[in-house]
Amino acid sequence: MHAVAVAPALLVAVAFTLPLLSLKVRRAKLFHGVTLATTSAVLVLTVYNYAYVSSSGRPLVYRMGGWPPPLGIVYEVDPLSALLAAYTALVLVAVVAYSSWYLGEDSGLPYYYALLLGLEAGLIGIYYTGDVFNLFVMIEVLGITCYGLVAYYRSTKEAVEASFKYAFFGAIAGLLYFLAAVLIYASFGNLTMGFVAAFSRPTYRLIYWNVASTLIWGNITAATGAVLALSLWTFTFKAGVFPNHFWLPDAHPAAPTPISAVLSGLVVNAGAYAAVRFLYTVFGVFDPLSEFYELSGYVKAVLMAVGAVSALFASVMMVVQTDVKRLIAYSTIMHLGLVFTGFSLGTPEGVGASVYHMLTHAAGKALLFMSAGVAIEVSRTRRIAELRGVGRVYKLVGLSTLLSCLSLVGLPPLAGFFSKLVLYQAYVQSGHFELIAVLLTSSAIALLGYFKVLYPIVLGQPPVGSEVARLRGFGLAAALLIPLVLIVVLNPPVVGGILEQVSRAVTDPGKYIDEALNSFINYVSRLYLTSGG
């Protein structure tokens, strides 16, 4: 159970030591090794957490510093957050392995790895936290590390400018979320997600009348409207979907390739996760028991519009790109749009399908960025027309490019196909046939875009001489293999049970609320017993 709290804290503790280490030791291998060991340890911890949470069937509440919920911060881990955190840790191991190949002996290595570890801490913290304000802090940890990593190639114009844009609007988004958190405290009288969720449901308010009437301090309906408006702006910014996508096609390509993989594959998921957490669990917009169920129509319309427009717009933009990384970045916007349409349905099927799509997209996108990154490194350009056919020399790269593209397009029998199929079924079940049209159209348009990438890398002019030497590296193979296995393995028989558990946990947050309240009540009753006895 301590593994929940240790995972992010361990990451930042190692991040603290890296610059100190760099004063004594200058060998690059040490930094690669330390970072790989840390991320592997965190992978073990997060997988253990997932196993614990999914086997016990209840969310896990960790009281930070031992404090009971409304006083202190809690980490509350339900199947969704445990799954996403474990998945993140897994992909990040691959990314660190890839970085060891990609960066080699770069002079900024300790800074790079410190930032990368901070990024992972931010992501896992966002998934694990059960506190509204702690979410703000973790979003900022994630944010500042992302800005720093995007600006890592500080002497290229586009990297610096993209990072400035990202950081600037990220700061505004963070401030707006801060205002939202403050408004939650102002009206609900506390900051624990489980408590806010309980107070949003009239039944819980009746059962825990004592607690609720003490803590609630204002008009929660008025506050919730403002909070949803403010926080959804922030979350859509972080997720990079339509009205707030403007930073993404600049920032993702400008970063070093492993970071592009992280940003496109994992960081955007954090925004989607936070939106789900707020809409489904905390305020229960799609929960008939909740007081805010009447908002579901508006929220549904907004999310659907956001998702559909970003999917269509981004798929069209993909086709006209000439820069390979920009093309892949637009594909991220498209997929996140599809994820948001799934969340807009408000049904367990929709949530399950969207989470599934998040997973397959993360693996596919990381793999595509990493294998395209090999081609970019070898041919020293990002223009699609001039890419070298690395796939002819190094079969693994060719294979991974092929499979990742096909998975992202959605061809059987790869993971991407199944996730889109499940999404399709969810649309059909809730009767939103217009979304099916969006899904099919955007996938068809995007197919053209993916073939633009696929063709030169797999079939283009092969590299020669010194360029081939660049391809050697132990880390590269390991890095490509992990997501490659993932996109083959993630099919419904394997993940079906997991997803069902996740979607049940999300659409029926009763256990989430109960655990948070129990944690408080247990503490108080034990206190009463010890002092009374």
Binding site: V160, E161, I172, V182
Partner: protein
Amino acid sequence: MALSTIERFLLTLTLYNLLVTAAVSIYGIVARPSLTKKIISLTILGDSLNVLAIFIGFRVFSIPPELVSEVELERFVGLAVDPLPQALVLTAIVIGLAVTLFLVFLALQVYRLYGTLDTRRIRELRG
């Protein structure tokens, strides 16, 4: 105890002033072309939201949340203002400072690369 009309008016006026300050600074962020001016407006936006956060924990006739040895606990609990927003704002100020420092470093680098901090000229130069 209830607040008199004039007290409520003054409190509301303060609140509105803070909200309008935030709005003016957002306008500055959007409308002014210079990156430096954008950063200045951003800091003002952060400041106004921080003060707003403290403001929701305010009460009239109160003392700060620092327990001095001579004050009894009951009187202290009955009189002091809300300490939680203060702790939250402390965090927010530090985070804002960190982001602003980084933005300044980035703006310097933008100037080194582009030779200007005017967004319109940067857009032209980027093509």
